[in-house]
């Protein structure tokens, strides 16, 4: 088989696409189907998808996987599994809890793996090379700018009572929105330097 980055292009892109199908499909199984066995399979699928995507995302850019990528995979996949387990199985328990302090503890439990993943991301960026660090910095800057402008625009519209927004939902969407814009900007930046 050889190293993935030396495979022919069609095979590398095929594995990358397969990784996305696996990841998105497994995520859907995990969140949309209320069946324990299906959710466990979904969780395993999400982790397998992350593994395939980490290797194939480097390979489609003719890059070999570096030791920091493998470290990130070893750390982030278990943390992500814990996060999903907490969101899917522990968070719904909040309705049966009466004491406010216990409710707060249950609701905030998923933040533990989120903080761990944030630490792992910082360590990952610190171990990237100088061009990659610049790309991450640019992506973070673009993400903050885009999300701030959208949030401020929505805030102004809501203040003028032109749109009705759910404040809690808006706050919850902050981090995912930052991650999506950050990821897209990083991908675009790497895409520009892909050619040999």
């Amino acid at each position: 088989m050889g190293r993935m980055d030396e495979w022919p292009g069609w095979r590398r892109w095929g594995v990358w696409l397969l990784g996305w199908v696996l990841y998105v499909g497994a995520f859907w199984m995990l969140l949309a189907i209320d069946n324990l066995a299906v959710r466990i399979i979904g969780l395993a699928g999400v982790c397998a998808g992350l593994w395939v995507l980490t290797y194939s995302s480097r390979a489609v850019l003719n890059e070999r996987v570096r030791s920091i990528d493998r470290w990130q995979l070893r750390v982030i996949v278990p943390a992500f599994m814990v996060y999903m387990l907490l969101v899917v199985f522990v968070l719904p328990l909040v309705n049966g809890v009466a004491a406010p302090w216990l409710k707060a503890v249950v609701v905030l439990t998923p933040m533990v793996p989120v903080l761990f993943i944030a630490w792992a991301m910082v360590r990952y960026v610190n171990h990237c090379d100088e061009l990659e660090r610049r790309q991450h910095l640019e992506a973070a800057g673009v993400a903050v700018l885009v999300v701030s402008i959208v949030a401020m625009s929505l805030g102004l519209l809501a203040a003028a009572k032109l749109v009705v927004l759910d404040g809690a939902l808006m706050l919850l969407m902050g981090l995912p929105a930052l991650c999506v814009v950050y990821g897209l900007t990083c991908t675009w930046s790497k895409w520009r330097n892909r050619a040999r």
């Binding site: 850019l61 070999r64 990237c128 100088e130 061009l131 790497k190 330097n193 050619a195």
Partner: protein
């Protein structure tokens, strides 16, 4: 900044990936340097010069890079 990285790499018969492994950077960084899209830091420029046994000023010269 103009540079002779591609010329020296090809003279050694290395691929971009092989040079990237020697420098402990990603292949896209080597690609960006060769194409003048990115000017390396001083430590990386010295690493390149040492690897190719060149004087740094013979590898890099001011000019239009990007």
């Amino acid at each position: 900044m103009k540079n002779r990285v591609r010329e020296l790499r090809e003279a050694h018969g290395w691929s971009q990936g092989a040079l990237a492994e020697h420098l402990d950077v990603s292949r896209q960084t080597v690609n960006a340097i060769e194409n003048g899209k990115y000017d390396p830091s001083l430590p990386l420029a010295f690493k390149l010069a040492r690897l190719f046994k060149q004087r740094i000023e013979s590898m890099f010269e001011p000019g239009e890079g990007r």
